[in-house]
């Protein structure tokens, strides 16, 4: 099972671009990389998913290098409402049980 490592916390200011990197050295060939966002008193919410190279949607971009041992979530021009905990999840191949979430990165956006 692929274990993930993320920074515990990050600080940023409104309008800046934020990049959060997740390490997953033992990612399996068929694993996907998915990022979730969690606000207090809510369950995590899907942000973006990718397998390799770059994926972009309306809220974020996901950069995955060729070796896939890490991934970087990029949030353009953050606002106060982006203050949340961000989780990187690696899995999705073979048995879907026991999907392991890391401890997440607490992003604090300041005015």
């Amino acid at each position: 099972l692929a274990k993930t490592t993320q920074p515990i916390s990050m600080d940023s200011y409104e309008g800046q671009e934020v990049n959060i990197t997740c390490s997953h050295n033992n990612i399996a060939t068929n694993d996907y990389i998915t990022w979730y966002q969690q606000f207090p008193s809510q369950g995590p919410r899907f942000i973006i998913q990718g397998y390799k190279t770059k994926v972009t949607n309306e809220v974020a971009s996901l950069f995955i290098p060729a070796d896939r041992k890490s991934s970087t979530l990029s949030l353009p021009r953050v606002s106060l409402s982006d203050t949340a905990v961000y989780y990187c999840l690696v899995g999705g191949s073979g048995s879907q049980g026991n999907l392991i979430f890391g401890k997440g990165t607490k992003l604090s956006v300041k005015p």
């Binding site: 996907y32 369950g43 989780y87 999705g92 048995s95 879907q96 049980g97 026991n98 999907l99």
Partner: protein, 116 residues
């Protein structure tokens, strides 16, 4: 459409009592997960159901914890003889199918359990 629904949203119980937590997944979702989140911590996997297959119970912390999924839909997580260390938010998630590509997890807002 309706998302994942969990009830109750809050539960306070006395040490030693049994509790049942309920999860209504999104209709048609075949995969269902339970996670536990202690204050300020990440998500701890508890159990996974997929269709009619035997559940993956590898994350259950003790034999006081059990879960059922009836008719492939509603799931109940039961904690017997609750202890103070069981206090946490219990999150349920579902996904449309076994393969998670393009079918990410959809979480409920959890049940906050407090054992006094």
């Amino acid at each position: 459409g309706a998302g994942v629904s969990q009830s109750p949203s809050n539960k306070v119980t006395e040490k030693g009592k049994d509790v049942e937590l309920r999860c209504d997944p999104i209709s048609g979702h075949t995969a269902l997960y339970w996670y536990r989140q202690s204050l300020g911590q990440g998500l701890e996997f508890l159990i996974y159901f997929q269709g009619n297959s035997a559940p993956d119970k590898s994350g259950l912390p003790s034999d006081r914890f059990s879960a059922e999924r009836t008719g492939g839909s509603v799931s109940t997580l039961t904690i017997q003889r609750t202890q103070q260390e069981d206090s946490a938010v219990y999150l349920c998630a579902s996904s449309p199918r076994q393969i998670l590509y393009n079918s990410p997890l959809h979480f409920g807002n959890g049940t906050r359990l407090t054992v006094t």
